[in-house]
């Protein structure tokens, strides 16, 4: 159990775009850091330690903890890198939480970033998979997701139209988010008419590649409310990895989410997540996950996800809005993506969401997804946890 309760007291994001040739990596990182410091009303001298990360092999430059110190504020400060593939951003948030919760650091700056425009995304992802057993047929992130979607579709008889409804939701929500890369509404027909990339996934079912950075400042309970009057308290975190080779996966239901969420609810006293949680920022790289993964999370029973999506319950104004930011389908600077989910969930708690604000948020969830089918999950509250 944490020695200190921890809150998010400030967040900052770049304006995410498909290509940012105007800045190099450290300059991009600096934009997010300066924004987060301004949001918290702090200077870099207030920061005790930094956690930074992006995805291995992307950009072909490793050791961001070293080369970015001018931009990150890491010059002559304790700085450590975490990188866990697609979950990097959410792992960064969990790592920052651990550092502050341990009582060893009072204020920690957490940074995730990526310049996908300077990377061969599919080539780089391939290097994360086993060279002997996985790579022969491997086709980046999309094919594994497609195999999950196919398994679920076949078991429950949903169609790509059901999944398209999720994409329509997130792309509509993104129009409210000035940081999102893709801010354009689409129709069901447009999603279904977009090119089939890997059956059953259409082009408009999946995330783009984005340049962007995100920074989040976490502080211990000793100072959190002096920095931010309504901080977002971290109630708990959980994560799971479940396979060695992709063929080991139980594709069609995401075991890592099922077990991570169950642990998080148990640790934090959540008994009815659908009623007790006000908003979810789901790391949802493709539309079918918007159906399958909320079932694994325990929001609704298995097989009922599509019906729940069609009811409008997860739209803005519904009982449990998902991805008010537009989510990953609208914006995906991979090493930052999981941390953006954290920043967006905390923004909702703080009431700073502007056009994308869900009214009266008391409890929020963010998730991370990576590699293939790993899950990180974090729970935040407006109230300080009483444990």
């Amino acid at each position: 159990m944490a020695k200190k309760r921890v809150a998010v007291v400030g967040t900052g994001q770049t304006m995410h775009k498909s290509h940012r040739p105007d800045v190099n990596g450290q300059e991009l990182i600096n934009e997010a850091v300066k924004t987060a410091l301004a949001d918290a009303g702090l200077t870099i001298n207030d920061i005790d330690a930094i956690v930074i990360g992006n995805m291995d092999h992307f950009e072909g430059i490793n050791y961001v903890d070293c080369w970015s110190v001018d931009g990150s504020g890491g010059w002559m400060r304790p700085i450590i890198k975490l990188t866990t593939g697609g979950t990097t951003g959410s792992t960064l948030a969990i790592g920052g939480y651990h550092m502050v919760a341990s009582g060893m650091f009072e204020k920690v700056l957490v940074i995730g970033w990526e310049k996908n425009s300077e990377s061969d995304t599919t080539g780089a992802i391939t290097t994360a998979f086993d060279p002997i057993w996985d790579r022969l047929v491997f086709a980046g992130a999309i094919a594994g997701l497609a195999a999950e979607g196919m398994a679920y579709m076949t078991e429950f008889g949903i169609t790509d139209k059901d999944a398209a409804r999720v994409s329509v939701r997130d792309r509509k929500h993104a129009c409210n988010n000035p940081h999102a890369q893709l801010r354009k509404e689409v129709t069901l027909e447009e999603v279904l008419a977009s090119p089939m990339l890997s059956d059953p996934i259409h082009l408009l079912d999946v995330c783009p590649r984005t340049d962007g950075a995100c920074a989040v400042i976490m502080a211990s309970e000793d100072v959190a409310q002096k920095i931010c009057p309504t901080p977002a308290w971290i109630w708990g975190t959980a994560n799971r990895h479940t396979y060695t080779y992709v063929g080991d996966l139980n594709l069609g239901e995401i075991d890592s989410m099922k077990y991570a969420a169950a642990e998080l609810w148990r640790k934090t006293g959540i008994t009815e997540p659908r009623k007790q949680i006000d908003v979810i920022e789901l790391y949802q790289p493709y539309s079918f996950a918007g159906i399958i993964w909320i079932e694994a999370m325990g929001i609704i029973p298995r097989g009922k996800g599509a019906e729940y999506i069609w009811s409008g319950a997860t739209d803005m104004g519904g009982e449990l809005p998902i991805n008010p930011s537009g989510g990953v389908i609208a914006c995906n600077p991979i090493g930052a993506t999981g941390l953006i989910r954290c920043a967006e969930a905390c923004t909702q708690i703080m009431g700073k969401g502007g056009a994308r604000q869900v009214p009266g948020v008391k409890m929020a969830v963010s998730t991370g997804f990576g590699g293939c089918f790993w899950t990180d999950i974090l729970l935040y509250g407006k109230e300080k946890p009483n444990f």
């Binding site: 057993w133 022969l136 398994a151 090119p195 594709l251």
Partner: protein, 154 residues
């Protein structure tokens, strides 16, 4: 010089310096495949799960697997996709052969799935639950390419 040419990083004709060990368990799998056209798996003594590809440790139980079994060679497609988008395979520097069937095949007697190419054939469309069998290469070298692809039987 075209715009951006001065920024291109390439390795010319150099090959990548990676020489991966497959371990004793991988070696046995590939030896049986090459010499006998047999598929082998290994069973966890604790939970009974049969792993193909075989490996030394059952991650679930964290105990050493010791009981070798012959599985397949026929199996069933647990799930699949048809990859249609073109991209360069970083393993070869060439485009992947799109469109191709990407199957998660559970060999008869195994519990985990084996990933390989599945034929795309209008007469016998790829689907979950379809039975398949491997088509072996005539000249086998002890690699995963000793299976050319999986043929759909029904």
């Amino acid at each position: 010089m075209a715009r951006g040419d001065h920024l291109v990083i390439s390795s010319g004709d150099a090959v990548q310096p990676f020489h991966y060990a497959v371990g004793l368990h991988g070696s046995k799998f590939f030896h049986e495949l090459k010499e006998n056209r047999r598929i082998v798996g290994i069973k966890c003594p604790s939970c009974g799960k049969v792993y193909t590809p075989p490996r030394r440790v059952c991650g679930d139980c964290f105990v050493e697997n010791k009981q070798w079994l012959e599985v397949g060679p026929q199996g069933v497609i647990d799930t699949y996709t048809i990859v249609r988008y073109a991209f360069i395979d970083p393993e070869t520097g060439k485009q992947k052969p799109v469109p191709y069937g990407y199957g998660f095949i559970r060999f008869d007697g195994a519990d985990t799935r084996f990933q390989h190419f599945v034929e795309l054939n209008d007469a016998r469309p790829i689907k979950i639950g379809a039975r398949v069998e491997p088509v072996f290469a005539e000249e086998r070298k002890g690699t995963i390419r000793d299976i050319l692809y999986f043929r759909i039987l029904d």
